[in-house]
Symmetry: C2
Subunit: 194 residues, 2 copies
DNA sequence: CCTCTCGATGAGTATTCAGTCACCGAGTTA
DNA sequence: TAACTCGGTGACTGAATACTCATCGAGAGG
Protein backbone atom coordinates (compact mmCIF):
# COMPACT_ATOMS: atom_id res chain seq x y z
CA UNK A 1 0.00 0.00 0.00
CA UNK A 2 1.35 3.40 -0.93
CA UNK A 3 0.88 6.61 1.06
CA UNK A 4 -2.41 7.41 -0.60
CA UNK A 5 -3.97 4.03 0.10
CA UNK A 6 -2.82 4.14 3.68
CA UNK A 7 -4.30 7.59 4.20
CA UNK A 8 -7.54 6.54 2.55
CA UNK A 9 -7.94 3.55 4.80
CA UNK A 10 -7.04 5.66 7.82
CA UNK A 11 -9.72 8.18 6.96
CA UNK A 12 -12.28 5.46 6.46
CA UNK A 13 -11.48 3.88 9.81
CA UNK A 14 -11.60 7.27 11.47
CA UNK A 15 -15.07 7.90 10.09
CA UNK A 16 -16.28 4.51 11.31
CA UNK A 17 -14.80 5.08 14.72
CA UNK A 18 -16.18 8.58 15.23
CA UNK A 19 -19.53 7.63 13.75
CA UNK A 20 -19.88 4.75 16.18
CA UNK A 21 -19.02 7.01 19.10
CA UNK A 22 -21.66 9.53 18.06
CA UNK A 23 -24.26 6.91 17.25
CA UNK A 24 -23.83 5.28 20.63
CA UNK A 25 -24.08 8.64 22.37
CA UNK A 26 -27.00 10.17 20.49
CA UNK A 27 -28.59 7.39 18.50
CA UNK A 28 -28.38 6.80 14.78
CA UNK A 29 -31.40 8.87 13.95
CA UNK A 30 -30.20 11.92 15.82
CA UNK A 31 -26.65 11.97 14.56
CA UNK A 32 -25.97 14.08 11.47
CA UNK A 33 -23.38 13.37 8.84
CA UNK A 34 -21.92 16.84 9.42
CA UNK A 35 -21.31 16.06 13.08
CA UNK A 36 -19.52 12.86 12.21
CA UNK A 37 -17.34 14.65 9.68
CA UNK A 38 -16.55 17.35 12.21
CA UNK A 39 -15.60 14.85 14.92
CA UNK A 40 -13.43 12.98 12.44
CA UNK A 41 -11.78 16.23 11.41
CA UNK A 42 -12.63 15.82 7.75
CA UNK A 43 -14.76 17.75 5.27
CA UNK A 44 -18.43 16.89 5.12
CA UNK A 45 -18.15 15.78 1.51
CA UNK A 46 -15.33 13.37 2.28
CA UNK A 47 -17.69 11.17 4.22
CA UNK A 48 -19.63 10.46 1.04
CA UNK A 49 -16.51 9.42 -0.83
CA UNK A 50 -16.18 6.57 1.64
CA UNK A 51 -19.83 5.68 2.14
CA UNK A 52 -22.60 5.86 -0.43
CA UNK A 53 -24.94 7.43 2.11
CA UNK A 54 -25.68 7.65 5.81
CA UNK A 55 -27.57 4.35 5.79
CA UNK A 56 -24.70 2.33 4.40
CA UNK A 57 -22.46 3.81 7.08
CA UNK A 58 -24.90 2.66 9.75
CA UNK A 59 -25.18 -0.76 8.17
CA UNK A 60 -21.42 -1.23 8.12
CA UNK A 61 -20.99 -0.17 11.73
CA UNK A 62 -23.77 -2.40 12.95
CA UNK A 63 -22.62 -5.30 10.85
CA UNK A 64 -19.23 -5.15 12.53
CA UNK A 65 -20.65 -4.80 16.02
CA UNK A 66 -23.23 -7.52 15.59
CA UNK A 67 -20.70 -9.85 14.07
CA UNK A 68 -18.43 -9.41 17.05
CA UNK A 69 -21.21 -9.86 19.55
CA UNK A 70 -22.52 -12.92 17.74
CA UNK A 71 -19.17 -14.58 17.84
CA UNK A 72 -18.86 -13.95 21.56
CA UNK A 73 -22.30 -15.45 22.09
CA UNK A 74 -21.39 -18.45 19.94
CA UNK A 75 -18.43 -18.88 22.18
CA UNK A 76 -20.56 -18.85 25.31
CA UNK A 77 -22.95 -21.34 23.80
CA UNK A 78 -20.32 -23.76 22.66
CA UNK A 79 -19.00 -24.07 26.17
CA UNK A 80 -22.25 -25.85 27.02
CA UNK A 81 -22.85 -23.90 30.16
CA UNK A 82 -26.18 -24.05 31.92
CA UNK A 83 -29.04 -21.66 31.31
CA UNK A 84 -28.41 -19.47 34.32
CA UNK A 85 -24.77 -19.01 33.40
CA UNK A 86 -25.74 -18.32 29.80
CA UNK A 87 -28.23 -15.68 30.89
CA UNK A 88 -25.77 -14.07 33.28
CA UNK A 89 -23.06 -13.89 30.68
CA UNK A 90 -25.47 -12.62 28.05
CA UNK A 91 -26.48 -9.86 30.43
CA UNK A 92 -22.81 -9.10 31.09
CA UNK A 93 -22.33 -8.70 27.38
CA UNK A 94 -25.30 -6.35 27.11
CA UNK A 95 -23.94 -4.40 30.04
CA UNK A 96 -20.56 -3.94 28.42
CA UNK A 97 -22.09 -2.47 25.29
CA UNK A 98 -25.16 -1.09 27.00
CA UNK A 99 -25.20 2.28 25.26
CA UNK A 100 -25.31 0.60 21.89
CA UNK A 101 -28.08 -1.77 22.93
CA UNK A 102 -30.11 1.07 24.36
CA UNK A 103 -29.97 2.79 20.99
CA UNK A 104 -30.90 -0.42 19.18
CA UNK A 105 -33.81 -1.15 21.50
CA UNK A 106 -35.23 2.30 20.91
CA UNK A 107 -34.59 2.80 17.26
CA UNK A 108 -35.04 -0.67 15.84
CA UNK A 109 -38.67 -0.11 14.84
CA UNK A 110 -37.60 2.89 12.77
CA UNK A 111 -34.80 1.32 10.78
CA UNK A 112 -35.25 0.30 7.19
CA UNK A 113 -36.17 -3.23 6.25
CA UNK A 114 -32.60 -4.37 5.51
CA UNK A 115 -31.12 -3.20 8.77
CA UNK A 116 -34.01 -4.44 10.85
CA UNK A 117 -33.79 -7.86 9.29
CA UNK A 118 -30.07 -8.08 9.97
CA UNK A 119 -30.46 -7.13 13.60
CA UNK A 120 -33.41 -9.41 14.19
CA UNK A 121 -31.67 -12.28 12.49
CA UNK A 122 -28.79 -12.10 14.95
CA UNK A 123 -31.30 -11.72 17.73
CA UNK A 124 -33.22 -14.77 16.65
CA UNK A 125 -30.08 -16.89 16.74
CA UNK A 126 -29.44 -15.86 20.31
CA UNK A 127 -33.06 -16.47 21.23
CA UNK A 128 -32.91 -19.94 19.70
CA UNK A 129 -30.06 -20.90 22.02
CA UNK A 130 -32.12 -19.92 25.03
CA UNK A 131 -35.03 -21.75 23.50
CA UNK A 132 -33.05 -24.98 23.18
CA UNK A 133 -31.62 -24.70 26.66
CA UNK A 134 -35.10 -24.33 28.12
CA UNK A 135 -36.49 -27.19 26.06
CA UNK A 136 -33.73 -29.43 27.26
CA UNK A 137 -34.43 -28.47 30.86
CA UNK A 138 -38.09 -29.32 30.44
CA UNK A 139 -37.29 -32.65 28.85
CA UNK A 140 -34.98 -33.47 31.72
CA UNK A 141 -37.68 -32.43 34.20
CA UNK A 142 -35.45 -29.77 35.68
CA UNK A 143 -37.84 -27.06 34.48
CA UNK A 144 -41.57 -26.71 34.65
CA UNK A 145 -43.61 -27.38 31.56
CA UNK A 146 -43.79 -23.80 30.31
CA UNK A 147 -44.61 -22.47 26.85
CA UNK A 148 -41.00 -22.14 25.71
CA UNK A 149 -41.51 -19.52 23.02
CA UNK A 150 -43.56 -17.42 25.36
CA UNK A 151 -41.01 -17.74 28.16
CA UNK A 152 -38.25 -16.58 25.82
CA UNK A 153 -40.37 -13.63 24.75
CA UNK A 154 -40.91 -12.67 28.37
CA UNK A 155 -37.17 -12.63 28.91
CA UNK A 156 -36.21 -10.70 25.81
CA UNK A 157 -39.20 -8.38 26.04
CA UNK A 158 -38.34 -7.45 29.58
CA UNK A 159 -34.69 -6.83 28.81
CA UNK A 160 -35.69 -4.73 25.81
CA UNK A 161 -38.08 -2.73 27.95
CA UNK A 162 -35.44 -1.94 30.57
CA UNK A 163 -33.04 -0.88 27.84
CA UNK A 164 -35.40 1.31 25.87
CA UNK A 165 -36.66 3.17 28.91
CA UNK A 166 -33.34 3.25 30.72
CA UNK A 167 -33.43 6.95 31.76
CA UNK A 168 -36.63 6.33 33.68
CA UNK A 169 -35.07 3.64 35.79
CA UNK A 170 -31.87 5.43 36.69
CA UNK A 171 -30.07 8.73 36.32
CA UNK A 172 -26.72 7.19 35.53
CA UNK A 173 -25.00 3.86 35.48
CA UNK A 174 -26.14 0.59 33.95
CA UNK A 175 -29.76 -0.59 33.92
CA UNK A 176 -28.67 -4.09 33.17
CA UNK A 177 -26.34 -4.13 36.14
CA UNK A 178 -29.04 -2.78 38.39
CA UNK A 179 -31.76 -5.20 37.34
CA UNK A 180 -29.69 -8.23 36.49
CA UNK A 181 -30.40 -10.00 39.79
CA UNK A 182 -34.15 -9.46 39.63
CA UNK A 183 -34.34 -10.46 35.98
CA UNK A 184 -32.44 -13.67 36.65
CA UNK A 185 -34.37 -14.42 39.80
CA UNK A 186 -37.79 -13.90 38.25
CA UNK A 187 -36.90 -15.82 35.13
CA UNK A 188 -35.69 -18.73 37.23
CA UNK A 189 -38.90 -18.62 39.20
CA UNK A 190 -40.83 -18.94 35.98
CA UNK A 191 -38.84 -22.06 35.07
CA UNK A 192 -38.30 -23.77 38.40
CA UNK A 193 -40.89 -24.99 40.90
CA UNK A 194 -40.40 -24.02 44.49
CA UNK B 1 -72.50 30.67 20.34
CA UNK B 2 -72.72 32.57 17.09
CA UNK B 3 -71.86 31.22 13.65
CA UNK B 4 -68.19 32.19 13.98
CA UNK B 5 -67.73 30.46 17.31
CA UNK B 6 -69.47 27.35 16.09
CA UNK B 7 -67.30 27.21 12.97
CA UNK B 8 -64.17 27.78 15.03
CA UNK B 9 -64.97 24.92 17.35
CA UNK B 10 -65.85 22.70 14.42
CA UNK B 11 -62.50 23.39 12.78
CA UNK B 12 -60.66 22.66 15.99
CA UNK B 13 -62.43 19.36 16.47
CA UNK B 14 -61.81 18.46 12.85
CA UNK B 15 -58.10 19.05 13.30
CA UNK B 16 -58.01 16.91 16.43
CA UNK B 17 -59.92 14.14 14.73
CA UNK B 18 -57.85 14.07 11.55
CA UNK B 19 -54.62 14.45 13.46
CA UNK B 20 -55.44 11.47 15.65
CA UNK B 21 -56.27 9.37 12.60
CA UNK B 22 -52.96 10.24 10.98
CA UNK B 23 -50.95 9.83 14.17
CA UNK B 24 -52.41 6.40 14.77
CA UNK B 25 -51.69 5.38 11.19
CA UNK B 26 -48.18 6.78 10.78
CA UNK B 27 -46.97 7.71 14.23
CA UNK B 28 -46.58 11.18 15.70
CA UNK B 29 -43.04 11.64 14.52
CA UNK B 30 -43.82 10.78 10.90
CA UNK B 31 -46.94 12.86 10.52
CA UNK B 32 -46.49 16.39 9.17
CA UNK B 33 -48.63 19.38 10.04
CA UNK B 34 -49.28 19.89 6.32
CA UNK B 35 -50.75 16.42 6.00
CA UNK B 36 -53.06 17.00 8.92
CA UNK B 37 -54.21 20.30 7.44
CA UNK B 38 -54.80 18.65 4.10
CA UNK B 39 -56.82 15.79 5.58
CA UNK B 40 -58.86 18.29 7.56
CA UNK B 41 -59.44 20.34 4.43
CA UNK B 42 -58.01 23.54 5.92
CA UNK B 43 -55.02 25.75 5.15
CA UNK B 44 -51.71 24.83 6.71
CA UNK B 45 -51.60 28.10 8.63
CA UNK B 46 -55.03 27.55 10.15
CA UNK B 47 -53.69 24.67 12.20
CA UNK B 48 -51.43 27.10 14.06
CA UNK B 49 -54.33 29.40 14.92
CA UNK B 50 -55.79 26.54 16.93
CA UNK B 51 -52.62 25.00 18.34
CA UNK B 52 -49.45 26.80 19.34
CA UNK B 53 -47.32 24.16 17.66
CA UNK B 54 -47.24 20.51 16.67
CA UNK B 55 -46.27 19.40 20.15
CA UNK B 56 -49.23 20.97 21.88
CA UNK B 57 -51.50 19.28 19.36
CA UNK B 58 -49.96 15.94 20.23
CA UNK B 59 -50.23 16.64 23.94
CA UNK B 60 -53.92 17.49 23.67
CA UNK B 61 -54.74 14.39 21.66
CA UNK B 62 -52.85 12.08 23.99
CA UNK B 63 -54.28 13.76 27.08
CA UNK B 64 -57.77 13.01 25.84
CA UNK B 65 -56.99 9.44 24.90
CA UNK B 66 -55.11 8.65 28.08
CA UNK B 67 -57.82 10.21 30.19
CA UNK B 68 -60.42 8.01 28.56
CA UNK B 69 -58.34 4.89 28.88
CA UNK B 70 -57.50 5.65 32.49
CA UNK B 71 -61.12 5.99 33.42
CA UNK B 72 -61.95 2.67 31.78
CA UNK B 73 -59.13 1.05 33.73
CA UNK B 74 -60.29 2.66 36.96
CA UNK B 75 -63.65 1.16 36.26
CA UNK B 76 -62.19 -2.31 35.84
CA UNK B 77 -60.23 -1.96 39.03
CA UNK B 78 -63.11 -0.73 41.13
CA UNK B 79 -65.09 -3.82 40.29
CA UNK B 80 -62.59 -5.75 42.36
CA UNK B 81 -62.13 -8.50 39.82
CA UNK B 82 -59.34 -11.01 40.17
CA UNK B 83 -55.93 -10.60 38.58
CA UNK B 84 -56.56 -12.86 35.62
CA UNK B 85 -59.75 -11.03 34.73
CA UNK B 86 -57.99 -7.70 35.17
CA UNK B 87 -55.19 -8.77 32.86
CA UNK B 88 -57.58 -10.12 30.27
CA UNK B 89 -59.64 -6.97 30.25
CA UNK B 90 -56.55 -4.78 30.17
CA UNK B 91 -55.36 -6.71 27.13
CA UNK B 92 -58.81 -6.30 25.56
CA UNK B 93 -58.48 -2.58 26.03
CA UNK B 94 -55.03 -2.55 24.43
CA UNK B 95 -56.39 -4.60 21.59
CA UNK B 96 -59.22 -2.17 20.92
CA UNK B 97 -56.81 0.76 20.61
CA UNK B 98 -53.88 -1.31 19.46
CA UNK B 99 -52.71 1.02 16.70
CA UNK B 100 -52.37 3.85 19.19
CA UNK B 101 -50.50 1.71 21.70
CA UNK B 102 -48.16 0.45 19.02
CA UNK B 103 -47.24 4.04 18.22
CA UNK B 104 -46.79 4.88 21.91
CA UNK B 105 -44.63 1.83 22.56
CA UNK B 106 -42.34 2.76 19.70
CA UNK B 107 -42.14 6.49 20.05
CA UNK B 108 -42.28 7.00 23.79
CA UNK B 109 -38.49 7.20 24.19
CA UNK B 110 -38.41 10.04 21.67
CA UNK B 111 -41.10 12.29 23.14
CA UNK B 112 -40.23 15.36 25.11
CA UNK B 113 -40.04 15.30 28.88
CA UNK B 114 -43.59 16.61 29.47
CA UNK B 115 -45.32 14.11 27.25
CA UNK B 116 -43.24 11.19 28.42
CA UNK B 117 -43.98 11.99 32.03
CA UNK B 118 -47.70 12.19 31.37
CA UNK B 119 -47.78 8.86 29.61
CA UNK B 120 -45.62 7.14 32.18
CA UNK B 121 -47.66 8.56 35.01
CA UNK B 122 -50.82 6.96 33.65
CA UNK B 123 -48.85 3.81 33.07
CA UNK B 124 -47.55 3.72 36.60
CA UNK B 125 -51.06 3.94 37.99
CA UNK B 126 -52.10 0.92 35.97
CA UNK B 127 -48.96 -0.93 37.02
CA UNK B 128 -49.65 -0.19 40.65
CA UNK B 129 -53.01 -1.90 40.44
CA UNK B 130 -51.39 -5.04 39.13
CA UNK B 131 -48.78 -4.66 41.82
CA UNK B 132 -51.38 -4.55 44.57
CA UNK B 133 -53.32 -7.47 43.14
CA UNK B 134 -50.20 -9.60 43.09
CA UNK B 135 -49.17 -8.57 46.60
CA UNK B 136 -52.58 -9.50 47.89
CA UNK B 137 -52.35 -12.88 46.19
CA UNK B 138 -48.98 -13.55 47.78
CA UNK B 139 -50.25 -12.55 51.20
CA UNK B 140 -53.18 -14.90 50.81
CA UNK B 141 -50.81 -17.67 49.69
CA UNK B 142 -52.58 -17.99 46.37
CA UNK B 143 -49.43 -16.85 44.57
CA UNK B 144 -45.81 -17.82 44.90
CA UNK B 145 -43.45 -15.51 46.71
CA UNK B 146 -42.19 -13.63 43.65
CA UNK B 147 -40.45 -10.27 43.43
CA UNK B 148 -43.59 -8.26 42.73
CA UNK B 149 -41.97 -5.28 41.01
CA UNK B 150 -39.96 -7.56 38.81
CA UNK B 151 -43.00 -9.65 37.92
CA UNK B 152 -44.91 -6.55 36.90
CA UNK B 153 -41.98 -5.42 34.78
CA UNK B 154 -41.92 -8.79 33.06
CA UNK B 155 -45.56 -8.40 32.18
CA UNK B 156 -45.44 -4.83 30.95
CA UNK B 157 -42.10 -5.27 29.27
CA UNK B 158 -43.34 -8.24 27.31
CA UNK B 159 -46.52 -6.50 26.23
CA UNK B 160 -44.50 -3.46 25.20
CA UNK B 161 -42.15 -5.65 23.19
CA UNK B 162 -44.96 -7.33 21.28
CA UNK B 163 -46.49 -3.94 20.52
CA UNK B 164 -43.35 -2.19 19.40
CA UNK B 165 -42.27 -4.99 17.10
CA UNK B 166 -45.76 -5.88 15.92
CA UNK B 167 -44.97 -6.12 12.17
CA UNK B 168 -42.43 -8.83 12.86
CA UNK B 169 -44.96 -11.02 14.59
CA UNK B 170 -47.76 -10.77 12.07
CA UNK B 171 -48.62 -9.31 8.69
CA UNK B 172 -52.03 -8.07 9.70
CA UNK B 173 -54.47 -8.30 12.56
CA UNK B 174 -53.85 -7.80 16.27
CA UNK B 175 -50.67 -8.87 18.08
CA UNK B 176 -52.42 -8.64 21.38
CA UNK B 177 -55.21 -10.90 20.23
CA UNK B 178 -52.73 -13.40 18.87
CA UNK B 179 -50.51 -13.56 21.95
CA UNK B 180 -53.07 -12.90 24.66
CA UNK B 181 -53.43 -16.56 25.63
CA UNK B 182 -49.71 -17.21 25.86
CA UNK B 183 -49.07 -13.99 27.79
CA UNK B 184 -51.78 -14.84 30.30
CA UNK B 185 -50.70 -18.45 30.57
CA UNK B 186 -47.04 -17.68 31.12
CA UNK B 187 -47.75 -14.90 33.59
CA UNK B 188 -50.01 -17.22 35.57
CA UNK B 189 -47.28 -19.82 35.55
CA UNK B 190 -44.93 -17.31 37.07
CA UNK B 191 -47.37 -16.62 39.87
CA UNK B 192 -48.92 -19.99 40.54
CA UNK B 193 -47.22 -23.24 41.55
CA UNK B 194 -48.14 -26.33 39.63
C1' DC C 1 10.83 17.07 -13.51
C1' DC C 2 6.46 16.87 -15.74
C1' DT C 3 2.01 14.98 -16.04
C1' DC C 4 -1.68 12.56 -14.31
C1' DT C 5 -4.41 10.43 -10.66
C1' DC C 6 -7.37 10.63 -7.02
C1' DG C 7 -8.51 11.67 -2.16
C1' DA C 8 -10.05 15.72 0.03
C1' DT C 9 -12.43 20.13 0.16
C1' DG C 10 -16.41 23.01 1.33
C1' DA C 11 -19.54 26.00 -0.84
C1' DG C 12 -23.62 24.94 -3.02
C1' DT C 13 -28.14 22.29 -4.02
C1' DA C 14 -32.35 20.01 -3.03
C1' DT C 15 -35.72 18.71 0.04
C1' DT C 16 -38.49 18.56 3.96
C1' DC C 17 -40.88 20.80 7.54
C1' DA C 18 -42.59 23.80 11.30
C1' DG C 19 -44.12 28.01 11.90
C1' DT C 20 -45.32 33.27 10.24
C1' DC C 21 -47.83 37.11 8.40
C1' DA C 22 -50.03 40.37 5.27
C1' DC C 23 -54.28 40.06 3.40
C1' DC C 24 -59.13 38.59 2.55
C1' DG C 25 -63.97 38.39 3.22
C1' DA C 26 -67.93 36.43 5.83
C1' DG C 27 -70.09 37.51 9.92
C1' DT C 28 -70.98 40.70 13.78
C1' DT C 29 -72.07 45.07 15.74
C1' DA C 30 -73.83 49.59 16.19
C1' DT D 1 -75.47 49.62 5.78
C1' DA D 2 -71.05 51.04 7.13
C1' DA D 3 -67.32 49.88 9.98
C1' DC D 4 -65.09 46.52 12.37
C1' DT D 5 -63.74 41.83 13.99
C1' DC D 6 -61.57 37.69 13.50
C1' DG D 7 -61.16 32.99 11.52
C1' DG D 8 -59.07 31.45 7.53
C1' DT D 9 -55.62 31.60 3.67
C1' DG D 10 -51.38 30.12 1.47
C1' DA D 11 -47.18 31.97 -0.15
C1' DC D 12 -43.15 32.70 2.26
C1' DT D 13 -39.29 32.14 5.65
C1' DG D 14 -35.88 29.84 8.13
C1' DA D 15 -33.72 25.91 9.83
C1' DA D 16 -32.05 21.41 9.46
C1' DT D 17 -29.71 18.12 6.89
C1' DA D 18 -28.42 14.60 3.26
C1' DC D 19 -25.90 14.64 -0.64
C1' DT D 20 -23.14 16.85 -5.02
C1' DC D 21 -19.49 18.71 -7.71
C1' DA D 22 -16.04 21.97 -9.54
C1' DT D 23 -11.62 22.61 -7.92
C1' DC D 24 -7.31 21.83 -5.49
C1' DG D 25 -2.90 19.91 -4.63
C1' DA D 26 -0.04 16.11 -2.71
C1' DG D 27 1.70 12.02 -4.31
C1' DA D 28 2.33 8.34 -8.01
C1' DG D 29 4.40 7.09 -12.27
C1' DG D 30 7.26 7.54 -16.20
Amino acid sequence: MNKRQIQKKKTRELILQMAKAEFVKKGFLNTTTSEIAEKAGIAHGTLFLHFKNKDSLIVEILDRELEEISSIIQNLISRAIDLEQLLLQYLDLLQEEEELFVVLARELPFYNEELRRKILFRDSIIRSHFHKAIELGIKEKRYRDVDVTSAVMFLFGTINYYLSLKPIFLKEGSVIKKFKPSIVKTFKQLLISD
